[in-house]
């Protein structure tokens, strides 16, 4: 990735007379960049705000927004501000759906949620963030209020989550050459493969995570259970959910191996 070209915040585009490839590049950069502005924290945007954030004039922002609207990627609220449509999720769903890991883990995570009533997730490390490949909200007391609308495809700073800490610790162990990121304090507990993490903000929650070992060239992932901090102490969390979490990991590993051998059979 060329760094200068991918930071969505370049100076305003030069005059439009430039020839094809550059303009294509820029249109994609701003047009797709416009869709990327929409996040959990800011789901609704107006033209002026988009223009300011992308550093383009309002007419340009409007044109990209109108294109997305016409194609069904954006919809307009009553206030004429814009928000994403269901259709926008298709590329993301396609990415997640194509990963062997997501398919293997899906029924197991569902079962884990059913069994525990807690919010469960599957995450990988992407830079200094965790990316949730799946996140299923629990139905036990207090679980709903923990959620800030996090779902599959959402990202959080790795150091702020149990899954992220587990993955950073795992990375540390596997690659001695790599230094641990300074921003991630050591896990409060890292025993028997379980990592505990506590957060005060945005919600008071406590997470427990376990790493699913990487097979082949796949990157490691972690299964995470999140609970309201007042519902279970750290010790209770391990006692009550440690075993289901280990069992879920074993099941995911087994499902992945099953898929691999099926693949080999098909190839053979």
């Amino acid at each position: 990735m060329s760094a200068s070209a991918t930071t969505g915040k370049r100076a305003a585009a030069p005059a439009a007379s430039t020839a094809g490839p550059d303009r294509t590049f820029r249109s994609l950069q701003y047009g797709l960049g416009l869709l990327r502005l929409f996040t959990a924290q800011r789901p609704v945007w107006g033209i002026a705000e988009m223009a300011r954030e992308l550093n383009v004039d309002r007419a340009t922002a409007h044109r990209y927004a109108a294109t997305c609207l016409e194609l069904g990627y954006l919809e307009q609220a009553l206030t004429r501000d814009y928000r994403l449509t269901r259709r926008c999720a298709e590329p993301g769903l396609a990415v997640l759906g194509a990963l062997a890991l997501t398919g293997a883990a899906r029924p197991i995570l569902r079962e884990l949620r059913r069994q525990t009533g807690r919010t469960v997730g599957l995450a990988v490390l992407d830079g200094d963030q965790v990316l949730y490949l799946q996140r299923l909200r629990g139905f036990a007391y207090g679980q709903y209020l923990l959620e800030k609308g996090l779902g599959a495809g959402s990202r959080l700073p790795a150091g702020d989550t149990a899954a992220g800490r587990a993955l950073l610790a795992d990375l540390d162990e596997r690659e001695h050459a790599r230094t641990r990121r300074a921003s991630a304090p050591p896990p409060q507990l890292h025993q028997g493969g379980l990592t505990i993490d506590e957060q005060d903000a945005p919600a008071r929650l406590r997470g427990l995570a376990i790493v699913v070992a990487a097979g082949g060239d796949e990157s490691a992932s972690a299964i995470e259970i999140t609970v309201p901090v007042e519902s279970l102490s750290a010790a209770e969390l391990v006692a009550e959910l440690g075993e289901p979490l280990r069992a879920a990991r074993a099941a995911v590993v087994q499902a992945l191996q099953g898929e691999q051998s099926e693949e080999e059979e098909r190839v053979a």
């Binding site: 990735m1 070209a5 991918t6 005059a15 439009a16 007379s17 094809g20 490839p21 303009r23 294509t24 994609l28 950069q29 047009g31 797709l32 990327r36 996040t39 959990a40 789901p43 033209i47 383009v56 004039d57 309002r58 007419a59 409007h62 044109r63 990209y64 294109t67 997305c68 016409e70 194609l71 004429r80 994403l84 269901r86 259709r87 926008c88 999720a89 298709e90 590329p91 769903l93 396609a94 990415v95 759906g97 194509a98 949620r113 059913r114 069994q115 990316l131 909200r137 139905f139 036990a140 007391y141 207090g142 709903y144 209020l145 609308g149 996090l150 779902g151 599959a152 495809g153 959402s154």
Partner: protein
């Protein structure tokens, strides 16, 4: 096909929905030749949309064929998308696939904005059409947590003294929302939860409130059969409601939506006859918005 910024398809409609000013802003940077839509963005999104979970790997020629574009143009777009982090090349086949960066294009549409926001346009529509109160709630322990509650439009339905609002908690066993949410729990969780309620010990809010585990279990079995739940004067005398399940991407029931009548103005049977269909459609629309892909998904 010269010039990626040639006019888009729907040019003529210059009055449109907006005020004139938006289209009249001096076209210094956006370019006088450019139409109302960006063709480059149209094509970029079209390329991204070619990739699906079932068809994750595509070569330049395949893409060109699918989109009716020349291989050279396709290649230009694909390289731009790859440089910007949305596509990556498979080293063995040289074909392309979506990279994790494509998730950031709009996965937020599914869940990042939350149940309430996804549900709101659909329950507003239901509230408008039915003129009765509409609520959506999730199970939170043994209670229903209201995520959104819309007041009734009908005069005879209004109740200034007792308005359930977002954030209110209601008992699960005697509300239509609660019965849906309990019914779709896994059987062991359901039994455990109902046992914890100690129905026999509770002071029933009305004489019609269910007071036995066995009866409640039978009611819930019925909910699973019908795909709908009912409550009739069980939380408040003269109030009745019907509720339907809302599913998320995993296929599990994660919320329930209802239509509620108060003050004894309407019989449950009438309410059901009038709104059952619309309620089911609303629940399905919200489920789709949350990523549910139908019975098979």
């Amino acid at each position: 096909m010269n010039g990626d910024e040639a006019q888009g398809s729907a040019e003529g409609d210059s009055k449109g929905k907006g005020e004139g000013d938006k289209n009249q802003v001096s076209p210094v940077r956006s370019g006088a030749r450019e139409g109302r839509y960006s063709r480059a963005l149209q094509r970029g999104l079209a390329i991204v949309a070619c990739f699906t979970a079932e068809r994750p790997l595509l070569g330049i020629r395949e893409l060109a064929g699918m989109l009716d574009m020349s291989p050279a143009t396709t290649h230009r777009y694909v390289s731009a998308l790859a440089t910007q982090g949305y596509l990556e090349q498979d080293p063995t086949s040289s074909k392309y696939r979506l990279s994790l960066g494509a998730i950031d294009l709009g996965m937020a549409a599914l869940s990042a904005t939350g149940l309430c926001m996804h549900a709101l346009p659909h329950i507003e529509e239901l509230a408008r059409r039915s003129e009765f109160a509409v609520q959506i709630g999730v199970l939170d322990g043994s209670e229903v947590l209201l995520v959104a509650a819309l007041p009734p439009k009908r005069r005879d339905q209004r109740d200034p003294g007792c308005d359930a609002r977002a954030g209110s908690r209601l008992p699960a066993h005697c509300t239509s929302l609660g019965k849906v949410l309990l019914a779709y729990l896994p059987a062991d969780r359901r039994r455990e939860l109902i046992a914890k309620l100690e129905l026999e010990m509770l002071t029933p809010p009305t004489p019609r409130t269910v007071r036995s585990e066995t009866v409640l279990q039978a009611m819930l079995a019925r909910v699973l059969e019908d795909g709908l739940s009912f409550s009739d004067g069980e939380l408040a005398a003269g109030a009745c409601a019907i509720a339907a399940p809302v599913r998320d991407e995993s296929g599990d029931v994660v919320a329930a939506v209802n239509v509620l009548a108060q003050h004894g103005t309407v019989e449950l049977s009438e309410l059901a006859r009038w709104f059952e269909g619309e309620l089911l459609v609303t629940a399905k629309r919200i489920s789709t918005r949350l990523g549910w892909r139908g019975e098979g998904g």
